[in-house]
Amino acid sequence: MILEMREHTDPVINPETEAYWKAANDGKLLVKYCMECKEPHFYPRALCPFCMSERTEWRETAGRGRIYSFSVMRRADPVYAIAYVTLEEGVTMLTNIVDADPETLRVGQEVEVAFGAAANGQAIPLFRPPDATR
């Protein structure tokens, strides 16, 4: 069995996060960086959660990371894998793993960003093994 794309819940898009979702539609995964304390954070916010600076900026990630942990929802239809993925940039984000056999998933596995779609067409960042074929 290969974990498929599924239709995702529409995210609520607001002025604080619309750049993230627009970038996703262009195939890019962004994180927020703080220009005061120099730390990236996720999920993105207008104010840095570490130092509360208002000087935060969007940066594009390389879209690569490793699985920190995951769980396969065996009883869901279709079966899906939820995961935390730690990006090379240092933040860990909630996501789904797709285009992979659930039996082969492991903590520490390399993954790269891919994009699924919400019901309204909004692109949603997901991750898949780099050698996965569609």
Partner: protein, 390 residues
């Protein structure tokens, strides 16, 4: 010399229903309030402080105070999910110590079974919830969020499914003696690991039950406790803490019990080794395992070994836990566990637990609650309780 306490628990009550098809949620709140007041030997006229969670019906404390006809000079509706009621015990203690109230009533009630609510999906707190778009699309459920904590704990410390299963085995040994428990069959490690996988690595028997019902506590000032007699129990220490994803610095191997526990123990002037009994919120087996480590009952990473071979079974192991069967087997009103944890700890300290599970000479006990989801944002609260002569 007996320990001093700023507040005492004078009355407790656990609603016997597990499926309340013919009762409303406000009615359940009032029935548990009445039960706890009767247990204390007080009436609602004595109540001047009221505490409930953030999901109580209507306008919470305002609606419930009106429904029950309470005349209040203090109210608090701190909401930290399933840990709320142990937070309320601490807040009631502080309010009593500050002279803001003398008799504090804490209630919990809910009907997820009667309403057919699945405990699987993430709770929707509206379009304004800041994490919404970054979590909801991915199908977070209570089960898979706790499962990710279990997976990471297994990865870092070698914890096994069989070790987690021992927690359910211990709870089931206790539940067989509780006539109100939803699940009364004793199960084995094999039964747990052979039960259907829900969100791997968690099996069906690693998950708590869904039940209706509720519970209530009455917290009073020391002078009132003295007048009410020996069945009152001392609140010796309480701690609470919050954990979240910290800007994307996620570590799923520990809970906020790592902070709430030491605060409670320090206030009580006691250590984990002093505890004769522990009620630990058991939403899932992994919740108990991480909590025991975080509270200092064993080293971080050693929880699997600690819970194995019946160490949590009363009369068998070193740390009897959840002798009512806990949320894994007995009762889990409104998907929130810390109220019943306090109630069973009070029964143990009074010597009123079932004789088959009563801990001999139980003078000091701990109750702990975890609320929210330990893989996202969660609250932890710990309370140390002592028998009247402790």
């Amino acid at each position: 010399m007996a320990r001093q306490a700023k507040a005492w628990i004078a009355g407790v009550y656990e609603h016997p229903t597990r499926k309340a098809v013919d009762k409303t949620t406000p009615q359940l709140h009032a029935e548990v309030a009445l039960g706890a007041l009767r247990d204390a030997g007080l009436t609602k006229k004595d109540v001047d402080g009221y505490f409930c969670d953030g999901v109580a019906p209507g306008l919470g404390g305002l609606s419930m105070a009106e429904y029950m006809g309470l005349n209040l000079r203090y109210t608090d509706a701190t909401e930290t999910g399933g840990s709320s009621y142990i937070v309320h015990v601490g807040h009631a203690m502080q309010a009593i110590a500050a002279g803001k109230c003398d008799v504090a009533l804490v209630t919990l009630a809910g009907r997820p079974r009667a309403e057919g609510v699945k405990a699987l999906g993430a709770r929707d707190h509206g379009a304004d919830m800041p994490e919404r778009g970054f979590e909801f699309p991915y199908g977070p459920a209570v089960t898979n969020l706790y499962a990710m904590a279990a997976r990471r704990h297994m990865h870092e410390f070698g914890t096994t499914s069989e070790q987690l299963a021992w927690i359910k085995v211990a709870a089931s040994h206790h539940a067989q003696h509780n006539e109100h428990a939803m699940l009364r069959d004793v199960v084995t490690v094999e039964d747990v690991v052979n039960s259907p996988m829900i969100a791997d690595p968690l099996h069906r028997l690693d998950c708590c039950i869904i039940s209706d019902g509720g519970g209530a506590l009455v917290v009073v000032k020391p002078e009132i406790a003295k007048a009410l007699g020996d069945r009152c129990v001392k609140v010796l220490g309480q701690g609470e803490a919050v954990k979240h994803t910290n800007g994307g610095r996620v570590d799923l191997t520990w809970t906020a019990a790592r902070r709430s526990g030491p605060i409670a123990f320090e206030e009580a002037g006691l250590t984990p080794a002093d505890m004769k009994y522990a009620s630990i919120y058991d939403s899932f087996t992994i919740t108990v395992l991480e909590t025991l480590e975080d509270l200092g009952f064993c080293e971080k990473g050693d929880g699997g070994k600690f819970v194995s071979d019946g160490n949590l079974i009363s009369g068998v192991g070193k740390l009897p836990f959840n002798t009512d069967g806990g949320g894994l087997c007995n009762n889990h009103p409104n998907n929130r566990g810390s109220m019943t944890k306090v109630i069973e700890a009070v029964r143990q300290l009074r010597g009123e637990a079932h004789p088959k599970v009563q801990v001999p000479d139980c003078d000091l006990a701990l109750a702990h609650g975890t609320g929210g989801q330990i893989s996202q944002r969660s609250g932890s609260a710990t309370v140390i309780l002592g028998r009247s002569d402790a």
